[in-house]
């Protein structure tokens, strides 16, 4: 009986968190993408689709600011002809779209959406699977999405998709390394791989990028200033990690400065050139789901996840009506707000930074981010270990760090020298 109840709770969590919380975010981010892009470019964007009351004799339509537009798009994609060209390798052609969506949605299960909900005094975590290997699981699964793209490129049996698929493979492999290495400092700092614990830690001790409070008080109280030195010292490697991680997430999700696998100007549509109807929509959904997951990971690791900060989280967690503690739902709303804000940031980047050339992309990934992430791990370890090892060891470590960094910069400079131009 207990097992059945547990299974039922898990099932409810799976259905509610994926289909009520995450999947609606996909059309919402599509809507935001279109509206925000339009505003940036002095346009209006989709603002019409809504309730056609005028058809029934009313004076005005009600348009919801065009919020229904993604639904209309979805219906359109369902009704379109699903055309399979004769020259494709059918089995893989059919498999590829699913392979891009599924990994993105599977990673949802480790994201902590909020603090605990209390039902009849029983705490329920707002996580589907409270794994102790959170970030590793996300990296392992989300990098499977590249198979979808590569298979799509290959099985389409046409040149542009193939180039797109190959580009995406190389890009994903390059940035996976920077992605993995850049979170090492964060994990070192928390000494924990469980995302729920990481967020709880941040709720108590200040977000990683905004350590304005700790368990001794907020920035306004004296006790905070007595204990904040370590936090602010770690802020430096945290910011470096944040920059590298965010950029790598952009590359992993094939977003704008790194969208070479599907860049329209060179490759028609890239890996999904030969796809139509719902199969194309699956790629589209996979891309946006990856974006949602990527931004929720950044928010969870660096920006405090579901926490509001300033010591308000304990009070929010304690909110209840009768025996139903709904604080978790408030935290869920906070988390969603942060994720949507980060998605808006994604769009801002899209219309600000022009697309990289392919060699620049590879150079940024392998030469700069890889090295920077490695050095950052060293720096973070030094900051964390300094209080234990005393001044002497710290200074030796610092000297070593400077030497290593200088050597790397020198190697970079030397290897950058261009070959002399051949004179004939």
């Amino acid at each position: 009986m207990d097992l059945l109840v547990t299974l039922l709770i898990i099932l409810v969590k799976v259905i509610v968190l994926t289909f009520v919380v995450v999947l609606p975010l996909v059309p919402i981010s599509v809507y935001f993408e279109r509206r925000f892009s339009a505003i940036i470019q002095d346009r209006v964007g989709p603002n019409r689709v809504g309730m056609p009351f005028t058809l029934f004799g009313a004076k005005k339509d009600f348009s919801f600011f065009g919020l229904i537009q993604p639904m209309a798009d979805g219906v359109k994609l369902f009704l379109k002809e699903d055309f399979t060209p004769a020259h494709v390798r059918t089995a893989f052609y059919w498999l590829a779209p699913a392979l891009t969506v599924v990994p993105a949605l599977v990673t949802v299960c480790v994201v902590p959406f909020g603090s605990d909900i209390f039902v009849n005094g029983q705490a329920h975590k707002l996580v589907i699977a409270d794994l102790d290997v959170g970030p590793l699981f996300v990296f392992a699964i989300s990098s499977l999405a590249v198979y979808g793209i590569t298979l799509a490129g290959w099985s389409s049996n046409s040149k542009f998709p193939l180039i797109g698929g190959v580009r995406s493979t190389a890009q994903m492999i390059s940035y996976e390394i920077a992605l993995g290495l850049s979170v090492v400092p964060v994990l070192l700092y928390y000494g924990d791989l469980n995302l729920s614990n990481i967020v709880e830690e941040q709720a108590k001790n200040g977000w990683l990028l905004l350590p304005l409070w700790n368990e001794h008080g907020t920035i306004l109280s004296q006790t905070y200033w007595d204990h904040c030195a370590g936090q602010w010292l770690f802020w430096i490697p945290a910011v470096i990690a944040f920059v590298i991680f965010t950029t790598s997430v952009f590359a992993e999700t094939n977003r704008m400065p790194f969208d070479l696998p599907e860049c329209e100007t060179e490759l028609v549509g890239g890996y999904h050139t030969e796809y139509s109807s719902m199969k194309f929509a699956m790629f589209f959904m996979g891309e946006y789901a990856a974006m949602v997951i990527g931004s929720s990971l950044v928010v969870t690791l660096f920006l405090g996840g579901w926490s509001l900060g300033f010591g308000a989280d304990e009070w929010i967690s304690g909110l209840k009506i009768g025996s139903f503690g709904f604080g978790g739902l408030v935290h869920l709303a906070i988390f969603m707000t942060k994720v949507v804000a980060f998605i808006l940031f994604f769009i801002l980047v899209r219309w600000t930074v022009p697309r990289f050339r392919y060699d620049q992309l590879m150079r940024l990934g392998w030469v700069i981010f890889f090295e920077a992430a490695l050095i950052n791990v060293f720096l973070a370890a030094l900051v964390i270990a300094a209080p234990q090892f005393g001044a002497m060891a710290t200074i030796i470590g610092l000297v070593l760090l400077v030497v290593v960094t200088a050597a790397l910069v020198w190697v970079l400079k030397v290897s950058d020298k261009k070959a002399p131009i051949l004179s004939i």
Binding site: A38, I39, D42, R43, W351, T352, V353
Partner: protein
């Protein structure tokens, strides 16, 4: 002419970092977005913007008052101040029409008609608005100044047949045009 040697500017360390430039870019993009939201985009006033960016939103706001004098919309036939149809079915417009949108069936004016001296008028005058490219050559070539491009731009229909403007429709759009050609006038 003096030779100017242009050297490639050396980037400072900060510029090589690239991050500063990206942040500057974010600020510029955000400024632009906020200006667009506040209806302060450059040219928003001149373009009669609807309040977002520089876009005029169609069914609520229309071009009509903002059309320039020289705007070329749907071609139409006109009558003169005495209600005579100006067209004498010389068929010059039919021959000049690049997409061959105009088709005229000429007919004679019967001798008991007050305008018998004009001799000819069109029996049928059809313009296929699907073919028409609004080039204005018919207007330019017409010796009687009978066909004009009006400012109507929303030519719609549910069938191909709806898009065929016949004589009646063309006079309805065109209306009366006073003056210009007086050679058939009694007053002259």
């Amino acid at each position: 002419m003096a030779v100017v040697k242009v050297t490639r500017p050396k980037l400072a360390a900060g510029e090589k970092m690239y991050l500063g430039a990206i942040f500057k870019g974010f600020i510029i993009t955000m400024k632009h977005a906020i200006a667009s939201l506040r209806n302060k985009s450059r040219g928003a006033k001149d373009m009669e913007s609807s309040g977002l960016g520089v876009t005029m939103q169609y069914p609520e706001q229309k071009w009509d008052e903002h059309l320039p004098e020289y705007y070329r919309g749907a071609p139409a036939l006109v009558t003169d101040e005495q209600g005579r149809e100006r067209c004498v079915s010389c068929q010059l417009c039919e021959f000049i029409c690049p997409p061959k949108a105009i088709r005229i069936t000429p007919s004679e004016i019967p001798s008991d008609d007050p305008w018998a001296k004009v001799e000819k008028r069109p029996l049928e005058f059809d313009i296929d608005m699907i073919r028409c490219i609004y080039c204005g050559m018919c207007e330019e070539v017409c010796p009687e100044q009978a066909i004009f491009l009006r400012k109507d731009y929303a030519i719609t229909g549910l069938k191909r047949a709806d898009m065929m403007h016949d004589k009646e429709k063309l006079y309805e759009i065109g209306g009366v045009r006073v003056g210009l050609v007086n050679k058939w006038n009694e007053l002259k």
